[in-house]
Amino acid sequence: MREDRVLKNTHWEARLYAVRISVAVLVLLIMMGALVWRYYDLQISRHDEFTTLAENNRIHVRAVAPARGLIFDRNGVLLADNRPGFTLSVVIERSAGIDQLLATIDQLIDLDDDEVERFKKFAQQRRPYESVPLRYKLSEQEQSILAVNQHRLDGIEVSARLVRDYPLGSLLSHVVGYTGRINQQELTQFDPTQYRGVHTTGKTGLEKYYEKTLLGEVGYERVETNARGRVMRVLERIDPVPGKTLRLFLDSRLQEIAVRALGAERGAVVAIETGTGGVLALASTPSFDPNLFVTGISHADYGALRDSPDRPLFDRALRGQYPPGSTVKPFFGLAALDSKVITSGYDIYDPGFYQLDNDKRKYRDWKRGGHGTRIDIYKAIEQSCDTFFYDIGYKTGIDDLHRYGTMFGFGLASGVDLPGEARGIMPSRDWKQGDRGVVWYPGDTVNVSIGQGFMLATPMQLAAATSHLANRGVVRTPRLVMSDVEEEIVSNTELTDASGSDTEILTINPVHWDTISDAMVAVVHNIRGTASRAVTGLDYKMAGKTGTAQVVGIKQNERYDASKLAKLQLDHALFIAFAPADNPRIAVAVIVENGEHGSSTAAPVAREVIDAFLAFYPLVDPGPETDIDSLSDSPPERATHRESEAEHRG
C-alpha cells in the first residue's frame, strides 16, 4: 500500500479520471438520446395508434337487449310478461382461471352439475370476452353473498335481465309457446346483429311464429370499463326498441273453460270466431308449465314431460292427426249435393251395412240392424247413418270428395299463425299412388266417405272447416293474433270485425248450406239426433256433428266391444259445432282421445265453450248500422245471403 501511494501521480490520475468520466458522459448522452428517441417514437410518431389501443382498452360497446313484446289476450289479460331476474354471468377472459372461479362460486352458492355443464357448453359458443350466463334467477341472498365476495370473483357479472314469464302457466303453453336460450343451430341461422346481447328466442308457439315482431331492436351502449371489466360510466347510449305487443283473438276465459271441460282427458279444443277467423280457444291437454323452459329446464323435469304416456308436450290441436270419422259427413254431404250426385230428396234403405257390387265385403253401419227406410241426407246426418254416406260417397267418387274436402281445408295447412301445423291427409288417387304406390280401390272411397281409411285431420282443420261451413262458404284463415299494438290496450268486449284474415268464397250452390245446417241442428236438437242426449237445455240453436274415430281396426264380422278394450284402444270421440245455427258466431271442434263416443264426451265440452262464449259476448243493443235481421231466422235475410254469394259465384 505504501509503495502504491508513493508511486501515485495524483495530477495524472485526475486527468485520467476526467478523460474516463467524459467518455462515460458521452455514452450516457447517447443512451439518453436513445430514450428520447424511444419516447418520441411512442408518443409523437405512433400516438394515434396507441390512442386507439387505449380507447379500445377502456371503451366497450355493449349491446342492450330490447324488452320482448308482451302478449295479451283479446281482453287485455297478460299472457306473456317480462320480469326482472338477476343473472350471474362470467366473462371467462377476465377470470383468473375458469375452473378455479367456478369452484369458488360453488363454495358460495351451490352450483349443480347441470348448471356447470350447461355453462361450459354455452361458453364454447361465445367468445372469451363475452359474458356467459351461469345462473338465472339469483335469490336476494345469493346476490348479497356474491357482492360481498366480489373481490375473490374476478370475471363475474351480476346483471338484471328481463326473464320471460307466463302468468297463466300451462293454460296456454301450446299457444303462446315459450322462449329459451338460443342454441347452437339457431346461432348460425340468426343474423348476429339482430341478436347481439339477446340470449333467448321463441322456441314454440306464438313466441316462435312472431319472433321477429316480438324481438325488437337491439340498442347499444358505449361504456368505459376498468381493467377488471367493471363499468365505470356509460358514455353513449342508443336505446333498444322494445318488441311489439301482440293482442290475440283468444279469450283466456274460454281457454280455461275448454281446458277445464276436457278435465283429465287427453284431447283438444279449437274454437274459432266465425266472423273473423280469430281463434278464441286452442287447448290441448294435458299441458305443461312453459315457465320451466325459459331459463333452461332440468334434465329430470324434461325427462318426465318427454316420457309421460300422456305426451303433454304434444300439441294435439295443431299436430294431432286423427281420422275425423263422422264429423266429415256434413262436408261430404255437401259435396254430393253440390256435385249433383244426389238431391236433398234422395233417400235409401239402410239394412245396417253397405256392399259394393261384386264385392262380398260388408261395410257396416255403426248401428246394428241399420237406420231403416227413407234415410235421406237430413236423417243421415242427424243419426250419423254410415250406410247412406257409404252410398253417396261412393257415388260422388274420390275425385270429388277430394275436391270438396280440399275446399274446406282438409289435407292442407289451415294457415293459422302458429308453427309446426300438421296437414292431415285428404286422400286422392294421386296421393295413394304417390304415398303408397298402389292404385285407388273403390273400397277406399267407401272408407273415406265416413272419415275413416286414409283420411286424417287435425282439430284445427276440423274447426276451420266447421267455421267455413258456418260462414256458408266464406273462408277465413284462422288467426290467433288480432293486431300488434303499441298503445295501451283498451279492454274491449265487443267483437272485432273481420280484419286481416284472408277471405275467399267457396263456389257452392247456396241452397245446400241450409240443408246441411238444418241437419246439423237436428243432430243436437232432434230427439233422434246423436248429440241430443248429451246436449240439452240450450237457449240457442246449435248445429253440430258427432264423430267416432276407430283406434283399432275391427275385423269383418267382429263386434266392437268397449268393455273388452283397454282405455288406450277405445275410439276417439269427436264433435264439431257452430252456434247460433241461424247466425253463426263461433265454430268449435273437440276431440277426446279414447273418449269412445263424440256425443257423450266431446259434445259437452264444445257446449260449455259455446255457452261461455255466448254469455261473454252477447249481442246487445245493435246500433243502427248493425244488421238487425241477422238476429232472426227470417227468410229475407237468407235470400240476401244467397244473392250475395251468387254474385260472388258469378
Binding site: A14, A34, A54, N57, N226, R228
Partner: protein, 379 residues
C-alpha cells in the same frame, strides 16, 4: 506529500476558484434543490398513480424526509472516514447477504429480506452503496491504471455480492451492483485490453448464462421483450399496457388524473416500477422530457462534483454514484417503454418504495460529503 497537497490546493483554487469561510453544516444547495424538485415531481406523479390516495404519498413523504436527514448526516462525514471504514460496511453487507441465503424471508418466489424483529431489511440495497464505496476505497489507493492483480481483486469484490444478489433472485439489483462496481473500475482507468477481454468473456459466457443461470421467468421476460404480442395476457401484458399508456399520452398528455390506462387499472405496477407510464400518459412527451432534464441536471451536478473531488477516492465514488443513478433511469425508462427486458428497477425518487429512496439519498449524501469537503479543503 506536501508537494502534492499544495499542487492540489492550487489546482482547486485556480480552476474552481471557490473558497469557504463558514463552519456551518456542509450542504451542497444545488444538489439539494435539484433533489427536492425531483422528489416534489415524484410525489405529484405518485399521487395520481396511486389512484389519488394520500396513504401512499404520506408514506413516501416520510421516507423522503428520513432519507434527506440521512443524506445530510452522511454529508457531514469526512470523506477520509468513509474511505477508511468502507471495508466494514462492505464486509458487513456481504455477511448479511450470505445470511439471507440461509435465514432470509421470501416473497413472490425471491428470498431477499432479513427479518430483524419486525423490521424487514434488504441487504442487497445496502450493497448498492457498499460496493462502489469499497471499490473506490480500494482503487483510490492504488496506482492507476490498476494492474492485473488489482483488477482481479476488484472484480471479485464486485462479482461476489452481485452473484449473491442475482441468485436470490433479484436480477435488477444484481445488475445495479455490478454496474456500480464496474463504473469504479472503468473510471479508475481500467486498461482497454482488460475491457476487451471482459467483453469477450462476457460474450462467451452469455449462452452459458442463458442456459444454466437464468430462470424461466427471466428468459420469458427477455423473450417477451422481443415479441410482446406472443403472450398478450401474460408476460406481454405489462409491456403492451405500458407502451400503450406512453403512446396514448402524445405530446402534452391527457392531463393530471386523466390517463385512462393509469386510472382504470390497465397499467400494472403503476405506482412502483411503471410509474413513468403514468407520467407519460398524463403529461405527455413534454412531461417526460422535463423529468429527464431534471435527471440530467442532477447527473451533470454529480459529474461536476466528481471532477472537483480532491481525492481519487472521492472522484471514483462520486462518478460511480452518478453513473449508477443514470443506469437506474435508463433501465427503468427503457423497460417501461419496451426497449429493455423487464427487470425490477424503480424510477429513482419517483417510484413508490422507501428502501430505494433512502438508499439513493444515502448515495447522494456521500456525493454531498465529497462536494462540500472540496470546499473545506479549498479554504
Amino acid at each position: 506529500m506536501a508537494e502534492f497537497d499544495r499542487q492540489l490546493k492550487d489546482h482547486g483554487s485556480t480552476i474552481y476558484g471557490r473558497s469557504r469561510t463558514s463552519f456551518g453544516p456542509r450542504i451542497d444547495y444545488t444538489l439539494l434543490l435539484l433533489l427536492v424538485a425531483l422528489m416534489a415531481t415524484g410525489v405529484m406523479i405518485l399521487y395520481s398513480a396511486s389512484g389519488q390516495q394520500f396513504t401512499y404519498v404520506k408514506r413516501q413523504l416520510i421516507f423522503m424526509a428520513a432519507g434527506l436527514v440521512a443524506m445530510l448526516v452522511v454529508g457531514q462525514m469526512p470523506t477520509r472516514f468513509l474511505e477508511r471504514w468502507a471495508f466494514v460496511l462492505y464486509g458487513g453487507g456481504l455477511v448479511l447477504l450470505v445470511s439471507v441465503v440461509f435465514v432470509g424471508v421470501g416473497a413472490k418466489g425471491a428470498q431477499r429480506w432479513l427479518d430483524l424483529g419486525g423490521f424487514r431489511f434488504q441487504p442487497s440495497e445496502l450493497m448498492k452503496i457498499a460496493v462502489p464505496l469499497m471499490l473506490a476505497s480500494y482503487l483510490g489507493r492504488r496506482v492507476l491504471p490498476p494492474r492485473f492483480i488489482v483488477v482481479m481483486v476488484a472484480l471479485t469484490m464486485i462479482i461476489v455480492p452481485a452473484v449473491l444478489v442475482g441468485v436470490q433472485p433479484d436480477l435488477g439489483t444484481a445488475l445495479l451492483i455490478f454496474a456500480a462496481g464496474s463504473f469504479v473500475l472503468f473510471l479508475a482507468g481500467l486498461r482497454k485490453r482488460y475491457m476487451f477481454g471482459a467483453l469477450i468473456v462476457a460474450l462467451t459466457a452469455a449462452p452459458l448464462f442463458w442456459f444454466y443461470l437464468l430462470r424461466d421467468y427471466q428468459k420469458l421476460r427477455i423473450m417477451t421483450l422481443l415479441d410482446p404480442q406472443s403472450d398478450k395476457l401474460g408476460a406481454g401484458w405489462n409491456i403492451i399496457q405500458s407502451t400503450t399508456a406512453i403512446g396514448a399520452g402524445g405530446f402534452s398528455g391527457k392531463g393530471w388524473f386523466q390517463g385512462t390506462q393509469s386510472q382504470l387499472d390497465f397499467l400494472p405496477e403503476s405506482h412502483t416500477d411503471f410509474i413513468i407510464a403514468v407520467l407519460s400518459e398524463e403529461h405527455g412527451f413534454l412531461g417526460v422530457m422535463l423529468l429527464m432534464l431534471l435527471y440530467l441536471a442532477l447527473i451533470v451536478r454529480g459529474v461536476f462534483i466528481s471532477l472537483r473531488a480532491q481525492t481519487m477516492f472521492g472522484r471514483l465514488l462520486a462518478g460511480s454514484i452518478t453513473l449508477t443513478f443514470f443506469v437506474y433511469i435508463f433501465v427503468n425508462l427503457g423497460m417501461v417503454s419496451g426497449m429493455l427486458p423487464i427487470v425490477g428497477v424503480p424510477l429513482p425518487m419517483v417510484s413508490y418504495g422507501g428502501t430505494a429512496i433512502v438508499t439513493l439519498l444515502l448515495g447522494f449524501g456521500m456525493l454531498m460529503a465529497i462536494s462540500t469537503e472540496e470546499k473545506r479543503m479549498g479554504q
